[in-house]
Symmetry: C4
């Protein structure tokens, strides 16, 4: 495949450089992050912990919280036993195992600031440790609050794209199309989209990864009320003009869609990225209609139809 319309090439390679893809490797992962491995990076225990805790899945998050709670209480339980279980007034355990659990539950009651008081500290060192643990409890609590709020207030849009792109009839010619909806109740406004084509080509005898912008018929809308179909008209000026799917596969083609929107509900700018590889492009198909009027004359948007495609003859 040779793309001769070099005038289309912008200098923006999206930060990927011009090293060609050598095996069938996505440049963008499905979550919009770059498909790149990192080495030589120190294990940033503290710096990235917050980011990790905020971006991990909810189930994993709760497991981390629970395990941390168990570990911290175990450490304090061992410490209380080390100092002497007799300093825990009301602890009735006689075997080491029972004494450990007495101390463990006392620790849990202290760090959560419940403090029933049927077990209570006495003696200087135990009292000190309990006072320290309750302070730690406050801080841990504060941290959990920040984490939960951080998780909820993150600008995570649930913009969902159709699984495939189609090359469908458009005006007098054809157009490359994908479409998207907003899965969340958040109101999205001021949407902007850009489409890029990237593939390997030989320029001046050197294998290079090229990036071409694909002009959109409409690249912004004010409110995302229904679905939005992004259309790149395949005119003479398009780098996709008269290309076949075989051309795209040979050149390790990938199409990027970069979107910017504003979440009106939480006043946040949201960036979304997705990429389609050659096998995710349907050469002769069109999207089925996604909305209709119901009996009251109200428009209805059917999310099940997002990726519904009709193959054309």
């Amino acid at each position: 495949m040779s793309f001769i319309k070099r005038k289309h090439q912008k200098d923006d390679d999206l930060g990927f450089g011009s090293t060609p893809i050598i095996k069938n490797q996505r440049m963008l992962n499905s979550d919009g992050t770059a498909n790149i491995e990192r080495t030589g990076l120190p294990w940033f225990k503290f710096d990235d912990t917050y980011t990790r805790l905020v971006t991990m899945s909810w189930s994993r998050f709760f497991v981390v919280i629970l395990i941390t709670y168990l570990i911290v209480n175990t450490i304090f339980a061992l410490a209380y036993n080390l100092i002497g279980i007799e300093n825990l007034n009301g602890a009735k355990g006689l075997t080491p195992r029972d004494q450990f659990f007495d101390a463990f539950f006392f620790s849990a009651q202290t760090i959560s600031t419940v403090g029933y008081g049927h077990i209570s500290p006495q003696g200087f060192i135990t009292s000190c440790l309990a006072a320290f643990e309750s302070m730690l409890g406050l801080l841990a609590f504060a941290l959990a609050t920040g984490l939960l709020y951080g998780r909820f207030s993150r600008p995570t849009s649930k913009i969902k794209f159709s699984k495939k792109m189609v090359i469908a009839p458009y005006k007098d010619g054809k157009g490359l199309m994908c479409r998207l909806v907003n899965l969340r109740r958040n109101q999205l406004i001021d949407l902007e989209a850009q489409m890029y084509l990237t593939f390997n080509e030989t320029i001046e005898g050197k294998e290079t990864r090229s990036f071409y912008p694909l002009e959109l018929e409409r690249d912004k809308i004010s409110i995302l009320s229904l679905n939005w179909t992004l259309v790149h008209p395949i005119t003479e000026n398009s780098p996709l003009f008269e290309k076949e799917i075989a051309d795209l596969i040979v050149a390790e083609t990938e199409i990027f869609v970069i979107m910017k929107s504003f979440d009106d509900t939480f006043s946040q700018t949201i960036h979304t990225r997705i990429s389609y590889q050659d096998e995710e492009i349907e050469m002769n198909a069109k999207f089925q209609k996604m909305f209709f009027h119901n009996d009251e004359g109200r428009m209805v948007l059917d999310y099940d139809k997002l990726s519904a495609i009709e193959i054309l003859e």
Copy 2:
């Protein structure tokens, strides 16, 4: 009604597409959201919960909190009874009903981390459950904090528009006007407004929903100190030129006002949308003056006058 000045049409259909309105249906609800039904969407229990809890009314929010508190305590009370009420030291209830309430109040004291201690857990399983419940209490607390902060810090402007638009004398001709004030103490700056006209019309034999921008005499102001009257001068270039109210009704006309402002008090960008339908436009009227100088020479803004209209002969 035929609007021939097609040069005014922008490509921005505000994301509503060009499907005509078939019955008298608003496109924008009174809260600025699109009047659209959604189907085929899975019941996003977890994803949208935060958004729902943050956007619902205060009274409903507190009811949800209270009911959740009752349900969670009931579940734990049942669990404590199942394990054996004899493991709750200090619980004096003799009948199952009293034992349930002993466990219920113990649960409430644990989850809220009050922990008076006149009832206290003993035995391994009950102690474990109480330790778990107090941890849960911390997290619930953290969640409530985030929710309350999220509710308060949301960019909800209280920009209030006049109930009706008027077509009033303006310069040598007429102008379509609405006006607005800021009901909150927050300082609003850098305000921008856009006005759009939308109606059904027949283009090339096809019933279509058209969108025309209505040019404003002034579309931005620096500070919203007083009221702001938006004026679209109905000149020859206006799609409303020489139109009558009957024309507007036939075409299912709706006028959108889209505003952007910056809340200086909380450093947030705020978007506001409102729409007026044909019956909300007064053809020959003008707004009454909303502010005056008091005896000390200070300007006074009278909010009661916001929608006050004077019918003209």
Copy 3:
């Protein structure tokens, strides 16, 4: 005073309209808010409470918190007494006064979730009320957290302007100048400033409040490291050209400075407004130098000199 250079007038009247000032009244208060009274506004108890609690002074904020705490505990104390003080196990008060205080302190221990337990609830209704109060305590706590964070994270810049403006020699002519510094440790970047002149004048026989932009010699800087002196060169094109202080007084002149900056420490856009009235303009003076090199060659900025002026002959 007649300003004939009408070409300078922009359509931006900063949202104040064109009603002339009739007595010596500032348009902008010293805190940058508009000097306008509001009537006809319902007493927005709930809507504005958060804004008020976040924007009031710290001392007032703590007084409000303390008084609320006292009132809430008093109400609950009365309720516990009404239900029957005998349901508070451990309350030893014999006189009504002592019984009230027993209930009051029990309430305080419940709402703060301390729960010592030397007083504990018994009986269904009292236990219910205590469970409800502890839930309320959690929510109140959550609210306080949000309020404190809201107060601290508000974009309050401490940009301080010189008390007076001066008309000082500038290049071959004169310039209207004021200067400013950043009082806080927050790093301010990307600063932009605009200056406006407003005064009463008679246009087509009608007394009008006019607004003229005053061009600045430099209207943006990248980092506010030292002080920043805003200079409007009084050239032939300036509406201030060959005006005397007497002219300014007659016309109720006010000069607005509107600034936008970005707080790099907290990632927030900050808007600052200030106005100078005629008596705050020194006709023939210049600012003293505000910074010098110390012995190590390091630049030193002396904040005491911010408003230091030298009167010229």
Copy 4:
């Protein structure tokens, strides 16, 4: 050194003014703040406390928290002793020292709202103080929550620059280069960079600090996936054209890099600044390649190579 190409000078001196550097003093510290001392500033105890607590290091932050906790409890312990230790029911200390610690631990249990209850307040004044302390505990807790969240949610990018700049072969000539990576997992997008040259020169007989922008071959990228090498081509138009390192040293040269990026993970704009002094510029060297393809064809970025330089003959 004389830079004659004055057409390159912009009016932006980055807010540093034009006072020349007299000794070898950086203008920008390594953390991107301006190297300037401030005097005449009142000791802003309250205003800057939040900023200080949010920007200080984690270790220092925890020490401050711990010390505050100790001091507050000591003060309350003294107060309880002053009122009379006999009002603390359950305090068994006989010596003044033991009585102080009883009161100290009671205070800790109250302010952290643990409230075991083995020590409990009695008498009006002690109960009042305990009620007040528990309210204070809630507020302190709320404050800690806000501080921790404020610390974590601060827009602190970990953009790391190469230790040195190099002047390497670029196209047909040479280019001044530095490079950078993102050390954190946060996704950085929409990056923009500017480069400035500043040095002392004599203009019209006056020693002046001049600022010249250095044009970049590419000044924005969409996503920071790999490393980014900033290149200023040293063409005829560059103020660095045919300059030697000796020239740079004499003129107290410093090169500023100012970057703006958007943290997609937390929806925040991030500004980064760095400066290189003359001795941090390598005249004839180039950067080693930082990424390679691993066996699966995936790109690998090696952070250890960030500052790796190859000296050229």
